[in-house]
């Protein structure tokens, strides 16, 4: 009996309690389109899973980087994603993992907003050693 309970708990933890929501999650994400980089060079389309972003739970960002001039995927860039609470002057206390899943397409796992409040997500896009930033402010509660 005890063994079966442990197995059951393990299955629950594996399916719901892991650091990252699984790709098969049925929670519907909302696509945020038209986030222009601060200098206007790139557009970032992004969505989170789950959506809205929960407090103190891992979430995933799916991000596509487009050239603002052509609207086509920016296949020759690198992306890094970070987040911070400017009013508190601190960032996340967990390092996310980012993976390129296609031309100009990235999946960021293990994002964690450990406390409620005003967060800013930074998308730093590198091309030819120049880093450009797109950012979005989010209130998490």
């Amino acid at each position: 009996m005890q063994t079966r309970l442990i197995v059951l708990l393990s299955v629950i933890l594996l399916t719901h309690g892991c650091s990252t929501p699984g790709p098969g999650s049925t929670e519907r994400a909302r696509l945020h389109s038209g986030l222009l980089s601060n200098d206007g060079t790139f557009i970032v389309e992004w969505e989170t899973n789950p959506d809205p972003i929960p407090v103190n739970e891992f979430f995933v960002i799916d991000a596509r980087v487009l050239d603002a001039g052509t609207g086509s995927p920016a296949a020759d860039v690198m992306l890094s994603v970070d987040a911070a609470m400017p009013q508190h002057r601190h960032g996340m206390n967990h390092t996310p993992a980012i993976e390129r899943v296609g031309p100009g397409h990235w999946r960021v796992q293990d994002m964690l907003f450990h406390m409620p409040g005003d967060w800013v997500i930074y998308f730093d896009i590198s091309r030819d050693e120049v880093i450009r930033r797109a950012q979005v402010s989010i209130e998490v509660d």
């Binding site: 601060n38 970070d82 730093d124 450009r132 950012q135």
Partner: protein, 617 residues
């Protein structure tokens, strides 16, 4: 019983055979004040202090009760060491060489490596003698040089970078008794320990303020097998074992100049006596050397007996920019750029641009800021990271000021061109058309960069124009004449935008000029950190007047640094040692003192203060 004894005995033997942890040498003893920017400090074998005064170029030894001059006329002497013969090795940074001077003042040897495969040293900041070796922190070249006692090159350790065994502005070096070399890797905020042959053994610390972390470590000492570091921006001393184990830290940030009782203010160098009973801390900012004794548990920290801690307590550093209603100040300790609306009775902080993470918003050592009011952009030059940052700041209307931490947005980050040596960039000026002029302190050249950091030109070295050594300090654009002014020792060079020298004039009666600004009428303002004053000259270098004395009251300075002038000809002086900004009329009349959270003007000074409005001078 027998079984228990057999278990404990090896442990006891191990403990007895292990070296005891070094006790802190942290109890305040003697303080030597009125030294002119002491950066170097060392002990002789008979426990006399030796120091190099970087402001005046004097090398001195404490013989009994008096300081005795050993040598003078050195150009920016920094780190020093005493060799086995009792001679003093000096890193003469301003001449890019190492000197050996005996205690009678005779210069016996000069090492500069410029005609060797190593190439010339650039701005060496420290030197250490060990048996038959001389080890040099070749700071401007981001490397460590190992020479023999005749100065012949043996090997180079490291290169610029952030990886294991690489350096960014290494400014302190020490050698352990067994030949291991410990390096204060300043802009990487760590200590690295090498075998004598250059193999990396340990990396200690990273950026931070918790015990074991560091912020721009500078001086270093390894006497007795303990690595002690002057943790400059944390205002403390830390001790580690050579394999990186944190032992202890001590010191407390002096919030105002001349706080004693162990409070430390920007420690630049440390030296432990051979008998390990004394530790000397050189604080050029405080113009003093504090000597500490072995830990005395009975010592009572007598708090400063003078005035209570009050007033403006920010961490304003030496870098500032101003245009229109915006003033931006860099705080090195907190790694924040503060943006103020200064055109108010009391300046209001509108936003803070703070260092965050390891990405492009990770600031290092900002050497120049430029606020472009027309385009609402802030430009930053970061010598530690070797990067340029552009920010867009969406200002609120002047009549609706408010603080918004999200007001500034980073738009782009670019690397400096490979032709520049970031550790040697001391200052930079940006013209309204987006052209940058970077001042290389290592060779006196100016690197001209386009808006995208592309290299456009390199001007010939300033030393083409003068015979004696240069100490380029600052560069500023004079918009009225569209020329560049370069401050070097007590000289000002005026160049046109193509790099042709149009004027060269001497500024008389200066001790250590630091920064330069141009007023609305073309007047030139220069801060003098040695004299704690500001001097105003006309556009040809004729002295008009000066103001300021050393002190902590309003209209007094403690090593003033950055200076800017607004469109109303008000002069803003970064009073670095007092961590504040003061505002003056062009004639030196005091108008205001402010920091991040408080401001003072003649109207809100206490009753009886001589600068209070209505007081009789």
């Amino acid at each position: 019983m027998v079984r228990r004894s057999s278990a404990i005995l090896p442990l006891v033997i191990t403990l007895l055979s292990s070296p005891l942890p070094a006790a802190p040498i942290d109890t305040p003893g003697t303080t030597h004040e009125e030294l002119d920017g002491p950066v170097g400090v060392a002990w002789t074998s008979d426990r006399n202090l030796v120091t190099a005064a970087s402001d005046t170029g004097d090398l001195m030894i404490k013989d009994g009760a008096q300081w005795r001059l050993i040598a003078s006329g050195l150009v920016r002497p920094l780190g020093i060491d005493v060799d086995q013969t009792g001679s003093v090795l000096v890193a003469e940074s301003g001449r890019h060489r190492i000197l050996r001077i005996n205690q009678e003042g005779t210069q016996t040897e000069v090492f500069d490596t410029k005609d060797t495969p190593m190439g010339p040293m650039r701005m060496p900041m420290d030197v250490h003698a060990h048996e038959d070796l001389i080890v040099v922190a070749d700071t401007g070249n981001d490397r460590i040089l190992v020479l023999d006692q005749q100065g012949a090159p043996l090997r180079v350790i490291g290169e610029r970078g952030t990886g294991p065994g690489q350096f960014r502005r290494p400014s302190g070096v020490a050698v352990l008794a067994d030949g291991r070399i410990a390096v204060a890797d300043t802009d990487n905020h760590r200590v690295q320990v090498f075998r004598g042959d250059g193999q990396l053994l340990a990396q200690i610390g990273s950026r931070g303020s918790h015990p074991g972390l560091m912020a721009q470590p500078s001086g270093i000492d390894a006497t007795g097998g303990v690595i002690r570091v002057a943790d400059q921006l944390n205002h403390r001393i830390q001790a580690f074992s050579p394999d990186g184990k944190f032992l202890h830290a001590w010191g407390m940030h002096a919030l105002k100049p001349r706080e004693g009782d162990g409070r430390i203010h920007y420690p630049a160098a440390i030296a432990v006596s051979e008998d390990e009973t004394r530790l000397a801390v050189a604080e050029p900012f405080e113009e003093r050397i504090q000597v500490f004794h072995q830990h005395d548990p009975g010592y009572e920290d007598a708090r400063p007996s003078g005035e209570p801690r009050s007033g403006v307590q920010s961490h304003f550093g030496p870098v500032v920019s101003l245009e229109d209603r915006i003033l931006v100040v860099w705080e090195p300790e907190s790694q924040v750029a503060l943006v103020f609306d200064h055109q108010r009775r009391s300046p209001i902080r509108l936003t803070s641009l703070w260092s965050n993470g390891d990405g492009p918003q990770s600031f290092g050592n900002l050497v120049a800021l430029d606020w472009d009011a027309v385009n609402g952009q802030l430009h930053m030059l970061d010598a530690a990271q070797g990067q340029y940052h552009a920010w867009t700041i969406s200002l609120p209307p002047p009549d609706e000021p408010r603080f918004d931490p999200d007001m500034g947005r980073l738009t782009s980050t670019r690397p400096l061109p490979a032709s520049t040596a970031p550790s040697r960039i001391l200052d930079a000026a940006r013209t309204p058309d987006g052209i940058w002029y970077l001042l290389d302190g290592g060779d006196g050249r100016v690197h001209v960069l386009g808006p995208s950091m592309e290299l456009l030109d390199i001007w010939e070295s300033l030393d083409e124009f003068v015979d004696d050594p240069l100490l380029p300090e600052a560069i500023v654009h004079d918009p009225a004449s569209d020329t560049l002014l370069i401050l070097s020792r007590s000289r000002v060079f005026r160049f046109d935008r193509s790099g042709s020298l149009t004027r060269l004039f001497e500024l008389n009666d200066m001790e250590r000029p630091d920064s330069i600004a141009v007023g609305v009428d073309g007047s030139i303002y220069v801060t003098d950190t040695g004299k704690h004053s500001v001097t105003r000259f006309d556009g040809n270098g004729s002295r008009i007047g000066s103001w300021g004395i050393r002190g902590t009251d309003h209209a007094q300075f403690w090593r003033p640094a950055g200076i800017v002038v607004d469109a109303d000809d008000r002069v803003f002086v970064l009073d670095h040692g007092n961590h504040r900004c003061q505002v003056f009329e062009p004639d030196g009349t005091w108008l205001m003192t402010f920091g991040a959270g408080r401001s003072y003007s003649p109207n809100n000074l206490p009753q009886g203060h001589p600068l209070r409005a209505g007081s009789t001078p």
